[in-house]
Symmetry: C2
Subunit: 335 residues, 2 copies
């Protein structure tokens, strides 16, 4: 089978370049069908790589002299730093030298670059950031988690359809349930955007639209695909992370409150760790920016090699399942 080629922005992210390089090695070891092009400062990357054993046909270093920092204004950074690892790696996707781009770097630059450098599939209005979020019984795809605030109803309709394609083909959920985030289940509830979008979603025959979902029902897995304006989507994603962290801290502190609970804590540690792992975003890799020509994946800024490895590996399924071809058929087909 044809290898999936991933251009990895090896200089982006809190733990770059060491965890990026380690993630590439990990992914290559796990799947022979992937080739990672590590983009960044050659000397540094080669030195990092020299620590590992790996198949030389699966990992290659591509030199890029500049680095876009996390805090830089995105548009300016992309325009000025033509030889940054982020821009060089994105250009490789544009030129067909790579199938996918993965980065844990500057979020804004990834969003802007995805649209300006890699470019949108014809007919796609605004590519949404689409992370998988953990639920009681699996995962749910959230679109848009931060790319497009003040979205239009037609944007949300496209996201519902792209999300449905992704969940069915990448995650393997047959006929995924699609819902729109709302503040009540009743017909008359919602803001202007939801009220305008709702009838458009109801008319679609190519997705399994189940109506409104209240935020309360997201963690229990009430829907497989959830659409929302990026402001709301981002609040959901970030609150998920923040609330999880705070609850775990409080539980840990609570367990240290007495001798009895300290003993108990020792006994439950492995089980608790396993539970929290199933609720951690790390396990699911990065979030694709759906609807770009070629795959663009944004990993968390604090990604370790595990998340980077998962982000790289998910690119294989994305390519093999021909997600972009399916998006083209479904979205551009009707233009």
């Amino acid at each position: 089978m044809e290898k999936t080629i991933v251009a990895l922005d090896a200089m982006g992210g809190d733990n770059a370049p060491s965890q990026m390089v380690k993630g590439a090695v990990d992914a290559a070891g796990k799947n022979a069908n992937v080739k990672v092009k590590l983009v960044g400062v050659q000397d540094i990357l080669e030195k990092e790589l020299s620590q590992y054993e790996y198949n030389r046909e699966q990992i290659e270093v591509v030199h890029a002299s500049e680095v876009i920092e996390t805090g830089e204004p995105p548009v300016e950074a992309i325009r000025k730093k033509k030889d940054s690892s982020l821009v060089v790696a994105m250009n490789m996707v544009k030129e067909g030298e790579a199938d996918a781009f993965v980065s844990a770097g500057n979020s804004g630059a990834i969003l802007v670059g995805g649209q300006i450098i890699v470019g949108r599939i014809k007919g796609v209005e605004r590519p949404p950031m689409a992370p998988l979020i953990p639920t009681a019984n699996g995962v749910t795809l959230l679109l848009d988690a931060g790319a497009n605030v003040d979205a239009k109803p037609t944007n949300l309709v496209q996201w519902a359809r792209m999300g449905s394609i992704y969940m069915e083909n990448v995650i393997g959920i047959k006929n995924p349930k699609v819902a729109i985030v709302n503040i009540g289940a009743e017909e008359e509830k919602g803001n202007a955007l939801v009220k305008e979008t709702m009838p458009m979603l109801k008319q679609l025959t190519d997705i399994n639209f189940i109506g409104s979902i209240e935020a309360r029902d997201i963690p229990s897995g009430g829907a497989d695909v959830i659409v929302a304006d990026a402001f709301v989507g981002n609040v959901i994603l970030k609150l998920y992370e923040g609330l999880g962290m705070t609850l775990i801290k409080k539980i840990k502190a609570g367990l240290m409150s007495s001798f009895r609970s300290k003993i108990g804590a020792l006994l439950i540690k492995p089980a608790l760790k396993e539970t929290m792992k199933s609720f951690s975003a790390e396990e699911y890799g990065g979030a694709p920016l759906l609807g770009c020509k070629g795959l663009v994946v944004k990993s968390h800024g604090n990604s370790t090699y595990k998340e980077i490895s998962n982000s790289i590996l998910q690119c294989i399924t994305f390519k093999e399942q021909k997600i972009n071809e399916k998006i083209k058929e479904n979205i551009s087909g009707e233009e």
Copy 2:
């Protein structure tokens, strides 16, 4: 000291009337300065009351023959059911026969009734629903959690000021930190509403405005008062509830996964329960609809006597601290 008179909608909520009546008895027992007028079907309420010992000067039954159900369309229900417990109790606040209204009933009817029956303080544009949400180190006031979607910048500015008054005087946080929910800390981030509201908040000299807060930083207690459009606020409130429940369920299931963890679970049970209690909304009573003439408090639909009791008790502080007088001075004063 003058008693605080609370009109309790004894027929509203999933656990009405039994838990409403029990909550009134509990509150009366805890504070001699409160008088509860139990509004609802007289026979039923008197029968419930007969189970308890209580000070007869602190609890009184006021008959109302009708009940507004949870699912009823709010505006229609309020217009048609003039003798419902909710409408009768609200009218008592309007007529000055009670200082405060408490209900666990139909949310929409409480919001609509608060505005139409009880009425807004002069100058207040749109009264926000303002629940306290638990954080790592205390509580944060969230406005608006569901009353006004598609809000205007001037609404959020008023909410910031009313919220600040509430936290300082009812909860006792000096110079509370006020923030606006945003999807990034950078100046250029945000949707149209946030971008327009931000400079207006920055200009205020009567509150301690600290800028943006990302949803990730809400649970750790990043701000004391948080303003957001009601759609976003409601998503935050509901996700808080839903995610907490799902995490606890998963942890409990995880603890049952091995013999070792089962033993540990027994040992940690008391400590875990205490921890979760501190993160439960029940402890903080209901949410006030701030800016009405007289206090309107909405308790959770599934409130038990504990939350009802806390909702009643918080009315005393609200009255004694003259919150509405302070809102009048601050909000109407400038009209």
